[in-house]
């Protein structure tokens, strides 16, 4: 191609921090891991959107109703942006949406294994059901903080089209988190609201923490060599724990 003698394998190129931009030059194992990352994101957004639909009808006022509708809409739109990238690899977009029931949830008290459950690749936290407006706001704040950290990691992936899309999604997700926080400020204005929120925090805190994956998982190193991972699960979890505790302290919940 470039008649240059200094050829290098794509594996070495990626290990050296190189980036790819086209489905035509991704090696097979890279392709598989990239698709896994993308479908985990898509499934989580679709399940998140579907799960939040109920919250629209729990909303205490019109502005909250609009906010909840927006979350449902925008999470589906974010899923589609990444699904469009998967389509470049052959994924059938229309069938993908129908392949799973995004609204299904396990019982509230089920112990969900943080590893993959059932048919789709959503993060385990999206298998747990929401039960009230307060619960939805708590989940949104805690998971929104986690999503922010997880997306900043994903924005560094070596597949540039995905990194670009994720950078566009980061502010959208940050807004969703903010809607949860604003909702909680109102809820926590009363003692009763605050104690309800505290119960929800007890429920969601460990589940959101689990969404960072196993600490010290062996896949990390292999994915890191392909430029698909950068920061360890442990680092991200620590960052989240601090951020979440600070937010809860500000709301005087914990």
């Amino acid at each position: 191609m470039m008649n240059d003698a200094d050829t290098m394998s794509i594996e070495d190129y990626l290990a050296g921090g190189g980036k790819l931009s086209s489905p035509d030059n991704v090696p097979p194992r890279y392709r598989a891991e990239l698709l896994r990352l993308m479908s985990s994101f898509v499934d989580s957004e679709l399940a998140g959107s579907a799960g939040f639909a109920d919250a629209i009808n729990w909303a205490p006022g019109i502005s909250q109703r609009i906010a909840a509708s927006r979350i449902v809409l925008e999470k589906a739109a974010s899923a589609e942006k990444v699904l469009d990238l998967m389509e470049d690899f052959g994924t059938d977009k229309a069938l993908y949406n129908r392949a799973h029931d995004w609204a299904t949830r396990q019982p509230r008290d089920a112990k969900v294994d943080p590893r993959r459950q059932g048919g789709d690749m959503r993060l385990s936290v999206f298998h747990a059901p929401l039960i009230s407006w307060t619960d939805a706001c708590v989940m949104n704040l805690l998971m929104g903080l986690a999503t922010g950290i997880q997306l900043r990691e994903l924005a560094q992936v070596s597949y540039i089209p995905l990194a670009d899309v994720i950078r566009d999604i980061i502010p959208v997700e940050a807004r969703h988190k903010e809607l949860g926080r604003v909702g909680l400020v109102e809820i926590c204005a009363t003692e009763e609201g605050r104690s309800e929120a505290a119960a929800s925090v007890d429920y969601w805190f460990p589940r959101v923490a689990d969404s960072f994956g196993a600490v010290g998982s062996g896949r990390f190193e292999r994915l890191a060599r392909m430029g698909l991972r950068h920061r360890s699960n442990k680092d991200q979890l620590e960052e989240w724990t601090q951020a979440a505790q600070a937010q809860l302290a500000a709301l005087k919940i914990r």
């Binding site: 240059d4 086209s22 097979p28 059938d92 993908y96």
Partner: protein, 358 residues
């Protein structure tokens, strides 16, 4: 699923001794599908003997040029590029998929941006498309191109770049770096390395003003350039890369799917390769997929939807026969090359060899 459409070759221009520029025209009915964004590429297919090859080539015209052009450099021993350079003539038709690719930044006529481009050899093709489009559509933006070649006579689009400099006075600068031909300024001779890039930034390019950078060249050079750009304060999200290395199946690789596999037993000896390691196990022919069997045997085999829709579980059958229940993600061409959706395939023969690494 991909749609191929025949494009008519309306011009064949010899660009350098071993590169050709083809002008292609879609049927008026398909013209809309072939509208493109600067920096995108076309994927062609052609039968070579009994085998279909697909190859991608970047569009080298600007979006306002009113035509589709690709520049194809002959690769030593390369099937498609040699054919394109030696046999294609005006009036021929070539099957192509509509333009794809995301090697571009959005155009905004109102902004005044400073762009920087690095191209080596045929890596100029998408970059010249970007340059032409930016010069035409963003009247206040400027572009600096650093363009590496072996010698003067191997430079693709040399005259066209000169013309662009004259048309858009003061908005395009081109720095030619020639590997094995001396130039007046020493800095412009030899290979591009970190040191040379530092000197370029010291003397010729103001890194702080750069809004976006495009790089298209061989792997090692792209790494060197990207590292240097970061060193000069240009952020990752400002850098766009396009790599020409192809993962499309080449000519010689032919899956050894043997036809005389025996189908007598109720179980199958499966051997699966993943990340360079091969594991063998026996699975019953009870309708379970090979993917499930691999996972049950502690292999971290890739999958997502398990419904034949996403293609995450794609693998290649190297030996034996399997049956796919549904396939909504692989094309006939991939299936003929031996690819399967492992979540959907059950063994038919008594022995199956499958790899996730190919």
């Amino acid at each position: 699923m991909s749609r191929f459409t025949p494009l008519e070759v309306t011009d064949v221009r010899r660009e350098t001794r071993d590169a050709v520029v083809l002008t292609l025209k879609p049927d008026p009915a398909d013209a809309e599908a072939f509208a493109f964004t600067q920096g995108q590429y076309l994927t062609f297919r052609r039968m070579f003997g009994a085998e279909e090859l697909r190859r991608s080539y970047s569009i080298c015209s600007g979006v306002d040029d009113g035509c589709l052009k690709v520049g194809i450099k002959r690769v030593e021993g390369g099937a498609f590029s040699t054919w394109a350079n030696e046999e294609v003539k005006v009036g021929d038709h070539i099957d192509a998929m509509p333009p794809m690719g995301r090697f571009f930044t959005p155009i905004d006529p109102a902004t005044a941006k400073t762009y920087l481009g690095f191209a080596a050899g045929s890596g100029i093709t998408p970059v010249i498309s970007i340059i032409k489009t930016i010069l035409a559509r963003e009247p206040q933006s400027t572009f600096t191109l650093v363009y590496a070649n072996r010698q003067m006579h191997s430079i693709m689009f040399r005259e066209e770049l000169e013309d662009l400099k004259n048309i858009y006075l003061g908005r395009l600068s081109v720095i030619h770096i020639l590997k094995s031909e001396g130039q007046e300024i020493d800095l412009f001779t030899g290979r591009i390395d970190d040191h040379k890039l530092d000197a370029l930034f010291d003397l010729w390019i103001d890194a702080e003003s750069v809004d976006a950078a495009f790089i298209c060249g061989p792997e090692a050079l792209m790494l060197t350039i990207a590292d240097n750009l970061r060193k000069h304060g240009i952020a990752d999200e400002q850098i766009k890369f396009e790599l020409f290395a192809s993962s499309q199946p080449g000519r010689a690789v032919k899956p050894a799917v043997s036809r005389e596999t025996s189908v007598t037993g109720n179980s199958c000896a499966v051997s699966v390769t993943l990340d360079g390691a091969t594991r063998s196990f026996t699975m019953p022919k009870d309708g379970n997929s090979i993917l499930d069997a691999a996972v049950a045997n502690d292999m971290d085999a890739p999958y997502s939807c398990k419904a034949g829709v996403c293609s995450t579980c794609r693998a290649r059958v190297l030996e034996g026969e399997v049956e796919m229940a549904v396939n909504h993600a692989l094309e006939d061409y991939e299936v003929r090359a031996g690819y399967v959706l492992s979540c959907q395939c059950v063994p038919v023969s008594d022995k199956v060899v499958l790899s996730y690494d190919e």
